[in-house]
């Protein structure tokens, strides 16, 4: 057995607010090997990476990190880089307008007494670029290069820091197949020639089975299984089962047998261009429908395009060059703005309640009535404060928002109550179609259950509900029908009694391997 480079012993991490992200992770990474980490969204992979690279410093977690046989106590990311542990995040950390060589040596400049040594910078940049197989002018700004080459620059940057252990968080998520292949070959090459060790997080199981020497599955903050190539079977089915093998218990209220009515909202051939990258579709010819009284789940991995789909329907609030048709109750409607969407009875509860949802410095009443102020005011725009307060009071009681009163500032509420204020806001608007984007993200189990009950109650009243969630048990526990979305397209549609976590995962994985290059 090869000597061990890095080993974690019972790593646990609790976030303020009591969310336990990691709960006993043990991994053992051997020298000159490629170690893959697999797990669902929220399994704790990113938290683990952040602990290994010192983003969460020593003392904020429990357990031990052993590196080269010694215990490590990193206080920040510089400490870990000094030891040769370099992390490459999913979102690239390049400065778009700076040149390739400036980016490679960013924060690690070739300099004497604070004065740049441009000759050395250029010379060493060319050497390092050679190692990663990048043949470009070191003076070219990185935003002139494609995603694949930018990813190579990230690796070059890591090499310039004398990396011994490279941690890559979904390195191929934004690459096409050809660039992905190149990147994986480069990793294998670096392992052979330079003895580089790498930890790679990926959802693409075909890539993992191709390059990984060892594989660890993380589920619910625990390391579940660890397999080595040659000794164990890397079959995709086995990995999937291990990733999702959680039982659905009665964390979901029973779904009452309710009549499902006619089609309320129907979307056809919906396309949304990426707001950042020209000529890329984040939603690619998607068609779906929701019936009255039906709860439809949108499953998929993060970044599958579900939020872009929802927000683009909700008054073109996301993306560019949106096309496609929307029919409501059989009639085609045009939605150009959020106001149009509200007018047509469509509401969207955002996943980002602090960034895009609540106005934290304002109180519960003001937050609930913001989209519906017209209902509580005279034609001249004078607010009837009494009617407004009564409505806020009513929804606060209906949704069991726990606060001293409607004049409590929303910043002082817990996550669960904040989420309920957002729900109250949109239920107050009395929509026919309610789109809930990650409605239970970051809130405790009790509040989750209450929100599930509210969703069921709304469906019973005949509302059409779309739930976007990255938690598969939640989708399975709530929905009548499930669409699986992957990389901007629908990879499958499953009635709930035929759906399972494995089934959804398989849909995603099949879409992965069937992806045309």
């Amino acid at each position: 057995m090869a000597p061990c480079l890095l080993e974690t012993k019972n790593i646990a991490k609790v976030f303020p607010g009591g969310v336990r992200a990691l709960d006993g992770v043990n991994i053992r990474v051997e020298e000159k090997s490629i170690h893959a980490l697999c797990g669902e969204n929220g399994a704790g992979k990113s938290t683990l990476m952040n602990i290994l690279s010192g983003v969460y410093p020593y003392g904020t977690y429990e357990g031990k990190i052993m590196y080269k046989g010694k215990e490590c106590r990193f206080s920040d990311i510089r400490d870990s880089e000094k030891e040769g542990i370099v992390i490459i995040h999913q979102e690239l950390a390049l400065i778009p307008c700076l040149s390739v060589m400036e980016n490679i040596f960013l924060g690690n400049e070739r300099q004497t007494n604070g004065i740049m040594d441009w000759e050395r910078t250029r010379m060493e940049a060319v050497q390092i670029m050679e190692r990663v197989g990048l043949h470009e002018d070191p003076d070219v700004p990185v935003n002139k290069l494609g995603m694949g080459k930018q990813q190579l620059i990230e690796i070059a940057k890591a090499l310039s820091k004398d990396a011994k252990l490279l941690i890559l968080d979904e390195p191929t998520a934004s690459l096409n197949d050809e660039d992905s292949e190149k990147l994986l070959d480069l990793l294998l090459d670096l392992r052979e020639k330079s003895g580089m060790t790498a930890i790679i997080i990926s959802h693409k199981l075909n890539e993992i089975t191709r390059i990984a020497d060892k594989l660890t599955v993380i589920r619910d903050g625990k390391s579940i299984a660890s397999w080595a190539k040659g000794k164990d079977d890397f079959a995709e089915d086995r990995i999937i089962k291990s990733m999702v093998g959680r039982e659905i218990t009665d964390r979901y209220p029973p779904r009452p047998n309710r009549p499902i009515g006619d089609i309320c909202l129907e979307v056809k051939d919906w396309c949304v261009g990426s707001p950042d990258i020209p000529d890329r579709l984040v939603v690619d010819h998607v068609s779906f429908h929701v019936r009255r009284g039906e709860v439809v789940g949108f499953a998929g991995l993060m970044g599958a395009g579900r939020t872009a789909l929802a927000m683009s329907i909700f008054g073109k609030s996301c993306g560019r060059g949106i096309s496609g048709t929307i029919r409501k109750d059989g009639k085609e409607i045009k939605i150009e703005s959020v106001a149009d969407a509200i007018e047509n009875g469509i509401a969207y509860v955002t996943e980002d309640r602090k960034g895009k949802g609540l106005i934290l410095m304002e109180n519960i009443r003001e937050n609930i009535t913001l989209p519906t102020l017209k209902k509580f005011s005279s034609p001249g725009g004078l607010i009837n404060e009494e009617a407004e307060a009564n409505a806020a009071e009513e929804y606060m009681q209906k949704l069991h928002i726990k606060a001293p009163g409607i004049f409590q500032k929303t910043r002082n509420l817990s996550g669960g109550n904040q989420q309920k204020v957002m729900l109250a806001r949109w239920i107050c608007a009395n929509p026919d179609v309610l789109i809930l984007d990650e409605p239970t993200r970051g809130i405790d189990a009790g509040a989750k259950y209450e929100i599930y009950c509210i969703i069921n109650e709304l469906a019973k009243q005949g509302k059409s509900i779309i739930v976007i969630s990255s938690e598969m048990p939640e989708i399975l526990g709530l929905s009548d029908r499930i669409y699986v979305m992957h990389e901007g397209r629908f990879a499958g549609e499953l009635p709930v009694d035929e759906a399972s976590q494995e089934g959804i995962m398989r849909c995603i994985m099949q879409a992965n391997s069937a992806k045309p290059s």
Binding site: S317, L358, I359, M361, E362, L370, K374
Partner: protein
């Protein structure tokens, strides 16, 4: 045990009171300080009258500036707009002999247009307000110089000066009524007391901390006393200045707009979280546009008052007014990142600057030291505010 918690509670509520009314308390302390230093000149009836008239245009600008700051923007051009309005008024009345009502109407329209021009670039083209209004500052100053051709135009007709230089007693018809100032003071006092009682009633209804009935009575009595005493005190000189009435009306109207109307709520929502406001169907572009149109209107009113008070239109009029108006808002508790601030706060902030200016001038402190002190006050006031915000 019981008594110690009671003491803790009163201590806490005193602290909260000090925090909530910090600038108001500071204003009173500064006034008392200068009252002593100037041997009673500061609060003499004549000086109070002067203080109001001298600061009215800055306060009017602050009323318009506050919504801009609430949306997270800023307007650097107001001083230049004040100058251009004076220039237009001067040209129309002095050079072209046009009537006062036509001139006033034209000036207000010009202000609205200036605001719409800047609002267009800020709201619809998304040029940062700092840049648009920095440009506006130069454009409107240049326009003033072109219109005036470098000259100063004077004098204005008597009726034009009326608003800035006259008093309630001078209004024909009203002037004859004995004790008109006291009647006006009494009316304002009654209105304020009614509003206090009304808000108390509402707070009680929604189980909010409203304080005791005794507190309410004390508050009402204090407000009534201040209103009546101010009226009485001003009556000792020439009476209530018409500018004060205008200012009072503007404060009342804009406080109402900010607190009780849909557009007011939208302004605060936009400043608090623009994306959230958008996703709630607030037409953020139009809100921002209207805020700047309104700033143009109030700049025009300030320009009229200022030129009427100086009785001339000069190319350099209104220099640095924008900075005083912005400082008034920040000293009065507005947040530089938007979403927080009140009209009354901005007025108190403006008065703090005004009393400092006036007090130091009476003491014969040079303009150089005045700048020093005003700069420090601005810095400390905002630092205090940030410290207090981060503690919450």
């Amino acid at each position: 045990m019981k008594s110690s918690t009671a003491i803790g509670k009163t201590k806490g509520s005193v602290l909260a009171f000090v925090r909530n009314y910090a600038m108001f308390i500071a204003l009173i302390l500064i006034a008392i300080l200068f009252e002593i230093l100037t041997d009673g000149v500061l609060l003499a009836p004549m000086n109070i009258s002067k203080l109001v008239m001298q600061n009215s245009y800055i306060l009017i600008l602050a009323i318009g500036m506050l919504p801009c700051i609430l949306t997270g923007d800023i307007d650097l051009s107001v001083g230049s707009v004040v100058a251009v309005i004076g220039a237009i008024a001067g040209t129309m009345m002095v050079s072209m002999n046009m009537s006062v009502p036509v001139t006033v109407a034209a000036c207000l329209a010009a202000g609205l247009m200036a605001g719409a021009w800047q609002g267009f670039w800020i709201a619809f083209v998304h040029v940062p307000s700092f840049i648009v209004t920095l440009g506006g500052m130069l454009i409107f100053r240049g326009m003033t110089m072109v219109i005036l051709n470098g000259n100063t135009l004077a004098p204005f007709p008597e009726s034009y000066q009326f608003i800035a230089q006259r008093f309630l007693q001078d209004i024909p018809g009203l002037g004859g009524i004995p004790g008109i100032d006291m009647i006006a003071g009494g009316l304002v006092a009654a209105l304020c007391v009614y509003m206090q009682a009304n808000s108390y009633r509402k707070r009680m209804k929604y189980n909010l901390p409203a304080g005791s009935k005794r507190m309410l009575a004390a508050k009402c009595a204090a407000i009534a006393a201040i209103c009546l005493f101010t009226a009485f005190w001003l009556d000792q000189f020439k009476g209530i200045p018409i500018t004060l009435i205008l200012l009072g009306a503007l404060i009342a109207i804009y406080s109402f707009l900010c607190n009780k109307t849909v557009i007011g709520r939208h302004i605060y929502a936009l400043g608090g979280n623009e994306r959230a406001a958008q996703l709630s169907g607030v037409k953020t572009q139009w809100v921002r546009f209207l805020v700047f149109v309104n700033m143009g209107l109030l700049s025009a009113i300030a320009g009229l008052v200022f030129s009427a008070r100086l009785n001339c239109a000069a190319p350099t009029a209104g220099m640095m007014f924008e900075l005083d108006a912005i400082a008034a808002c920040y000293i009065g508790g507005a947040s530089a990142s938007g979403g927080v601030g009140t009209i009354v706060g901005a007025i108190v902030g403006g008065l703090v600057m005004g009393v400092l200016n006036n007090g130091m001038s009476i003491l014969g402190i040079g303009i150089d030291w005045q700048q020093w002190i005003k700069g420090l006050v601005l810095l400390l006031a905002v630092a205090f505010d940030i410290h207090y915000q981060s503690q919450r």
